[in-house]
């Protein structure tokens, strides 16, 4: 093992009665892109906020390059950059002013014009913050997280509001930042993002880590050989599908039905649909994916029929 950039040990945090983080431990190696993947409310953001020292855990400990974020925030802010959800800048600050200001806050900043160029902000430099679109604000926020040349950067819901092209650009930027030596802690609920970027992923649900492995490792461990998805032409009785031999899970997702199971699942599935007079539109059969692993590990009963 290399040297650890971030070590979280048995972190616990509750808000009143609600347990947000229920014993999370993880170790992020220097130069790694580490993903924290999970549904909304899983405790991802609370975890990284504890890492950044914005919140203090009730129990456990956190170290970032040996620093305790809960007691030594001034030192931490020099080595950790963060892009936060739900934080905005001064309404009338321009993009250029924000970049210049953040540059002045750090001892060894990167050249902000390069970052601005990479993030497509160059044209927007004279624009005021309040006039930017959500995606533009997001790109500026990423630039500000990186301008201080942090040793560790926390990116919380990196690609929220970005169009597909901007998302690709940002992903490449994250890879390049890592190649330059920065450790990346990536919070996301987007499977594709985690799979594309991360060396390792922790799947978090209800305050705990449900699995922690490389993307490939997670897929292999998930078991089911195939994932069958289709858009039902009529309401479908999911319970009947669940009872089929070899089926591991069935759930409805955004108008699609997703069935995971053994190789012969699809053969057994089609006759049942026919009996229900359901035509499986846009039918796809795929080998196991991170989706499968994720859904198995964060399983919550969703709706029974579509």
């Amino acid at each position: 093992m290399g040297s650890a950039a971030v070590v979280v040990d048995d972190l616990r945090k509750r808000y009143g009665d609600k347990v947000a983080v229920d014993g999370i431990s993880l170790r992020v190696e220097e130069g790694e892109i580490f993903g924290i993947l999970g549904p909304n409310g899983a405790g991802k953001t609370t975890t990284v906020e504890c890492v950044a020292g914005l919140r203090i855990g009730d129990e456990g400990s956190v170290r970032v390059h040996g620093l305790d974020p809960w007691t030594d925030r001034p030192a931490l802010t020099r080595i950790l950059g963060i892009q936060l959800q739900e934080s905005r800048l001064q309404a009338k600050i321009t993009v250029r002013e924000a970049l210049e200001l953040w540059t002045a806050l750090y001892d060894d900043p990167v050249a902000w014009p390069d970052l601005a160029e990479r993030l497509g902000l160059t044209e927007l430099l004279p624009q005021r913050y309040a006039k930017l679109s959500g995606g533009q604000q997001q790109r500026l926020s990423i630039a500000l997280a990186l301008v201080g040349r942090p040793r560790v950067v926390v990116l919380d819901e990196l690609s929220t509001g970005l169009d597909p092209r901007a998302r690709r650009d940002v992903w490449q930027l994250v890879r390049d930042v890592r190649a330059a030596g920065t450790t990346v802690l990536l919070v996301t609920h987007a499977m594709e993002e985690a799979q594309q970027l991360c060396d390792r992923i922790a799947i978090v649900d209800r305050g705990r880590i449900r699995a922690l492995d490389t993307p490939t490792g997670l897929v292999d461990a998930a078991g089911p050989a195939t994932t069958t998805t289709f858009r039902p032409s009529a309401p479908t009785d999911l319970e009947a599908l669940r009872e089929l031999p070899g089926v591991v899970s069935v759930h409805a997702d955004d108008g699609r039905v997703v069935v995971t199971g053994a190789d012969d699942t699809v053969l057994r599935l089609l006759p049942v649909l026919e009996r229900q007079h359901v035509v499986p539109q846009s039918l796809r059969v795929e080998a196991g994916s991170l989706d499968t692993a994720y859904l198995d590990l964060t399983a919550d009963p969703i709706e029974e029929t579509v």
Partner: protein, 249 residues
């Protein structure tokens, strides 16, 4: 360390942003002068007021206008700016940087104070030029009383920003605090002509004591130490309360 230059960068940036808030600038900088200009044109305000040693109403109102602009900036404008930053997450965002959100609060206090000082200079000048109001006979005493008053009013504002959870309540609290402050400063009834009992009460409030001290300095006496101490004690107590209770989010 680089923190000093970083703080300077924050103050510089905030100064630019402050210059874009034309509405706030008008109320802080120009309104007191406009008030004195209007009041000075009322004929009866040029009559001497009994019990003040020959001062005219307009002479008294110069000090009142100074305290009023100070109060407005300190308990309404400055807290509003801080609430806006807190609610937008600006303070939270700055907590993750080496400079910390304290720099923004410092910048806001400095800039509002600077605007107040500009407003006061303008009021004294216009009063002098247009209505021949006296300049402070004891400049040193005046500056001292003025500085203390500035710290005291901004401490009241700081307590509001600390204790009030959001801008909606903040505006209400600011207004509720503003009027007693104006009253004790003598906006409706100059402190110097208040009935004795009322005056005894008012001079232990921060603005009442400041108002007395400023009036004494105007008249040429070094302000009564008692008044300066009252203002200073208020400033220290309020400042401590604010620092102990401030929330970043």
């Amino acid at each position: 360390m680089a923190t000093a230059t970083a703080t300077a960068a924050v103050v510089r940036t905030e100064a630019r942003l402050f210059g874009r808030e034309l509405g706030a600038l008008f109320w802080t900088v120009l309104f007191p002068t406009a008030l004195v200009a209007v009041l000075g044109s009322i004929p009866s305000f040029s009559d001497p007021v009994a019990g003040t040693g020959g001062l005219r109403t307009i002479d008294l109102y110069v000090s009142v206008a100074v305290l009023m602009s100070m109060s407005m900036a300190a308990v309404m404008a400055m807290p509003a700016a801080v609430f806006a930053y807190r609610e937008a997450g600006v303070l939270r965002r700055l907590r993750t940087t080496p400079v910390g959100p304290g720099a923004v609060l410092l910048a806001q206090a400095l800039l509002h104070a600077a605007a107040v000082i500009g407003a006061s200079a303008l009021v004294l000048t216009i009063g002098r030029v247009a209505y021949d109001t006296p300049l402070p006979e004891s400049p040193v005493g005046y500056l001292m009383a003025y500085a203390l008053a500035l710290v005291a009013t901004f401490s009241v504002g700081a307590v509001i920003t600390s204790l009030v959870p959001n801008s909606r309540i903040g505006t209400a609290v600011g207004t509720i605090v503003f009027f007693p402050m104006l009253f004790t400063a003598g906006v409706w009834l100059p402190v110097q002509v208040m009935p004795d009992v009322l005056r005894e009460i008012v001079v232990v409030t921060p603005l009442g004591a400041a108002s007395e001290a400023l009036a004494e300095a105007m008249a040429g006496d070094f302000p009564d130490l008692r008044h300066l101490v009252v203002v200073a004690v208020w400033a220290v107590v309020l400042w401590l309360v604010s620092v102990r209770t401030f929330r970043w989010e």
